[in-house]
């Protein structure tokens, strides 16, 4: 009975999700090539970008994993709050800069920008492959997360293996049909549900299980003291040095994360992004709630071990609420998997469509690129699904290095876009050294190394090598052969006099320079 109620609520919302995705395209007749599909025709207003960007960063990790970390360790989970807040400060500068660069040259993604900056289409293809390797584990994690949700809210009626397939199928159909615009719409639904359920739980749980907030916090401070400071409960390696280095690295990396950039490029103007950076950090208040609920769960459902701690929030909900409410919380959790997963797939599809497949002459042109990109989405999703069944543990390992690996693209992208002298050879050298160092440290079990995040160690080495090679003159001849003026190659600060920035738009499917 419980299973039937919760599952029906869940099923109804999944149908609603796909319908919303289709409705998002109404009035646009499904027309439009890759620009409409991948960056929403660059016409999403402030509100949509707000929810989309909040939506993709607020994944099932923040919802379920946040409570799980809060349950297991406590304070270290607050690094998410730290890096996202700092990330908006960094993004305030970088977002508008990338937006106006892409707008001026008709580019749709980060790999596209790299290819344009260095004048080498193959470089775009190379970074697209690298970025895909770093993104796939995230899709797989979302499939796993949503699978667990589906299986739990059906009270075990739907087996895990089928639940994974449901997660894959719903998301793939959704993203192929709707693109970025649809994702933004569903993001609204998701945010309403996430905010609603968290707001409810944060009021209800202390009243139901404790004598109100005073009593709850009093017990937390006195009985859970170890959880409240770094490095947290248990013998965690996450001390203050780890907290600072990880937050700093993530804050600068998140601004070039291909999915964040997709959000940036969907904005109507560079100024939209600046205004968003003012308001979006307020959203981070919500991130405290899962941690709080995780701490509450240590009193209510003690003794969850291993990956079961990710279910801390759910166990709490199943214990406290009737079946229909379990269904609603399940929908919120599932949508927090679907929206980011959809954006990840969309970004992979766009990157391949623009930067890899466009090197095949037969596939040029906006519409063909879009079809090719959609095919890539299905393949990438299918690959992540197969890996979920075949090698669940390997990919979790990989996901550890995805942020730290993506960070190694920073010098090539951000320094490159502002500093003409940085040569291709030097950037590649830095990338190779940084990536190799990160892989070596992570896979030999040395992350964190001396209490510091391994990714930032790799980034420091990367930057040093890139600077040294540039000053040593590596590839300087090749760079001089590129006769384009600085204004064509570099990005400006994106601050325009007019409210709507001018510039020549070349989104007509021009092949890469």
């Amino acid at each position: 009975m419980n299973a039937a109620v919760a599952t029906s609520v869940f099923g109804a919302f999944m149908v609603l999700t796909v319908v919303l995705g289709v409705l998002a395209l109404r009035g646009r007749g499904g027309r439009g090539g890759i620009t409409e599909w991948s960056v929403g025709g660059r016409s999403l207003g402030a509100v949509f970008i707000w929810v989309l960007m909040a939506g993709e960063s607020y994944t099932s990790f923040s919802y379920l994993g946040g409570a799980g970390w809060g349950y297991d360790f406590g304070a270290p989970v607050l690094y998410v709050v730290a890096y996202m807040s700092c990330g908006y400060a960094v993004g305030y500068v970088v977002g508008p800069m990338l937006w106006s660069y892409a707008h001026r040259h008709g580019l749709v993604g980060i790999t596209d920008m790299i290819a344009h900056r260095y004048g080498k289409p193959w470089l775009g293809a190379l970074t697209a492959v690298l970025a895909t390797v770093f993104l796939l584990p995230y899709i797989q994690l979302q499939i796993t997360g949503m699978g667990v949700v589906v299986s739990t809210i059906s009270y075990g009626t739907v087996s895990l293996n089928w639940a994974y397939f449901v997660a894959f199928a719903v998301t793939t159909v959704f993203v192929v049909v709707s693109g970025l615009r649809g994702s933004a719409w569903v993001s609204v639904l998701k945010d309403l549900l996430v905010i609603g359920t968290l707001a409810f739980l944060v009021v209800y749980v202390p009243l139901h299980y404790f004598d109100g907030y005073g009593d709850f916090l009093h017990r937390v401070v006195h009985e859970r003291t170890a959880w409240l400071t770094l490095p947290g409960h248990g013998h965690s390696t996450m001390g203050t040095a780890w907290f600072i280095s990880t937050s700093l690295m993530n804050a600068v990396t998140v601004v070039i994360f291909p999915t964040t950039v997709a959000g940036y490029l969907g904005a109507r103007s560079a100024d939209t992004l600046r205004r968003n950076a003012v308001y979006l950090p307020a959203y981070n208040l919500l991130l405290f709630v899962p941690m709080l609920l995780g701490l509450a769960a240590t009193f209510v459902v003690p003794g969850l071990a291993g990956s079961d701690s990710n279910l801390a929030l759910f166990k709490l909900v199943v214990d406290a609420l009737p079946a229909w409410a379990v269904g609603v919380v399940g929908v919120a959790a599932a949508l927090s998997s679907i929206v980011p997963m959809a954006v990840f797939m969309l970004v992979i599809g766009t990157m391949w469509g623009r930067s890899v497949l466009s090197l095949v002459p037969r596939l040029r042109g906006e519409t063909r690129q879009k079809s090719a990109a959609q095919a890539v989405v299905v393949i990438a999703g299918g690959l992540a699904l197969v890996l979920t069944y075949a090698a669940p543990n390997t990919l979790v390992r990989l996901s550890l290095i995805s942020y730290e690996g993506m960070a190694q693209l920073l010098p090539m992208v951000l320094l490159g876009l502002r500093w003409r002298r940085l040569t291709l050879g030097a950037a590649l050298g830095g990338l190779a050294v940084g990536a190799a160092l990160v892989c070596a440290l992570v896979f030999s079990g040395h992350d964190p190394v001396w209490g510091v995040n391994a990714g930032i160690v790799g980034l420091a080495a990367n930057l040093l090598v890139a600077l040294a090679l540039t000053y040593a003159g590596l590839g300087a001849a090749g760079a001089r052969a590129d006769e384009r003026p600085d204004g064509e190659v570099l990005a400006d600060d994106g601050v325009r006099g007019a409210a709507v920035p001018g510039g020549t738009e070349t989104t007509g499917g021009a092949p890469l320079a």
């Binding site: 730290a82 700092c86 400071t229 770094l230 600072i244 937050s247 003012v278």
Partner: protein
Amino acid sequence: MFRQRPHLLWLLVPLVLFLLAVPWVNRVDPVVVGLPFLAFWLLASVVVTPFAIWAAYSGDRRLMARRAREER
């Protein structure tokens, strides 16, 4: 970057609050409004951050207005 846009220095405020300050605020006492100090500090920082970024933005608004006049 800071020469033309000195107001961007406001963006350092969240970095100081969330990163630099952490070694000094990593403690349970004093408990403020029931919250352990670290959590209270980070919560207060989240509230302050939008104002810091807004300060940077209002500097950019003035810069935009100036550039608009120069273009005309």
